[in-house]
Each structure stands twice: as C-alpha cells, then as structure tokens.
Amino acid sequence: MATETHGAESASGMPQLDPSTYSNQIFWLVLALVAIYLLLSRVALPRIGAVLAERQGAITNDIAAAEELKLKAAEAEKAYDKALADARAEAAEITAETKASMQAELDAALAKADAEIAEQQKESAARIGEIRDSATANVEAVAKDTAEALVAHLGGQADSGQIAGVVSSKMGGR
C-alpha cells in the first residue's frame, strides 16, 4: 500500500488523538501557564493596577483642581461685576451731582440775569415816567402860556390863576 509518503507524519490520522504526545504537551503547557501566572501576578498586574490607580488619582485631582479654578474664576467674575456696578453707580452719581451743580449755577445765573433785567426795566420805567411827567408839565406850561396869550389877544383880562386852574383841570380830566 502506498502509505509511506506521509504515513510517518500523520501516524494516527488525527494527530490530536495520539496519546503518546499527551504527557509532553501537558508538561510544557503547565510550565507555560505557571510562567504566565507568575509573570502576571508578580510583575504585570500590580504594575498596571498601580498605573491605572495613579491615573485615576491624577484625573480626580485634576478634576478637583479644575473645579476649584472654576470656583475661583466665578468669584473673580463676581468681584469684577461688582466693581463694574460700583463704578457705574459712582459714575451715575457724579453725573447727577455735576448736573445738579450745573443746574444750580445755571439757575443762579438765570436769576441774576432776571434780577438785572427787572432792575433795568424798573429804572427804564421810572425814567419813562419822569419823562412823561416832565412832558406833561411842559405841555401844561405851554397850554397855560398859550391860553393866556389867547385870552390876552382876544382882549380879555387874563387871570393867570384862573387859567392855570382850568388848564390843570382839563389836563387832569383827560
């Protein structure tokens, strides 16, 4: 039979079922598993666990620090807002004050000007009154003279006192 081509290699058809290799495989497998277990439990797993814990700690710390910074920033913002509001209030106050003082000055100036104008008006009125009075007196004098002259011209005996009374009464009745 032509089995010798590869017969020596696959002795039992399915090499997995060849019990003569079992002890060998199991021995080396157990050795490999023990080696891996020792590597893991002695070196690798504690190391990785420590690194992960450290990272977790670092992250937690960073988050806490960030939280704190955020708080600080909020505080700073609040302070800034307060300062801003204060400044604004102060500015408004100053503005109001200035406005008030300016208003007062303006009022004073206006009052002064009004007073001056009123005085001048009064003076003017007084002078006008004087002028009018003097004008009236002049007119009376002229009217008396004219009346005396008229009476004299008409041939009458001019009683200067009577004429003056009549003229005065005419003028005053006006």
């Binding site: 039992s12 058809g13 399915m14 079922l17």
Partner: protein
C-alpha cells in the same frame, strides 16, 4: 477504490455529521438575530447584554463543533 464497505460507511457518516454544522449555523443565526431585534427595540439595554449574547452563541456553536468533531473522527480516527 479498494471497495471497502467500512470506508463507505465512514465517509457517508462523516458527510451526515457535516449536516450538524448547518444546524449549528441556524442556531447561531437565531441567537444573533433575536439579540439584534431585541437590541433595536431597546438599544439602551443592549450594551449590557453582549456578554450574554456571546455565551449563547458559544453554547449553540459548541454543538456544531461536536458534529464537526464526529466527522473528523469518522474520517481519520475510526
């Protein structure tokens, strides 16, 4: 061909055992399909159940592997 009736039986048996792979495929498809339809209905619960999915697939597939093993044993070891 040597005309050995035992060989004939072996090969026919191995071929029949191969049907088991198809049956296992149906089983695995069933598991995955049902998982998917459930997951689409409630996607939030799906993430926690992937382990269960794989366990189910593994159990379904193990039986297919058994049939494959039977085929191999018939072909090579009997």
């Amino acid at each position: 061909m040597e005309g050995d009736i035992a060989n004939l039986g072996q090969y026919i048996g191995a071929g029949l055992a191969g049907i088991g792979s198809g049956a296992a495929a149906i089983g695995v498809g069933n598991v995955a399909g049902n998982f998917l339809s459930g997951a689409l209905r409630n996607p939030s619960a799906a993430a926690g159940q992937t382990a269960t999915l794989f366990i189910g697939i593994a159990f379904a597939e193990a039986l297919g592997i058994f049939s494959f093993l039977v085929a191999l044993l018939l072909m090579f070891a009997v």
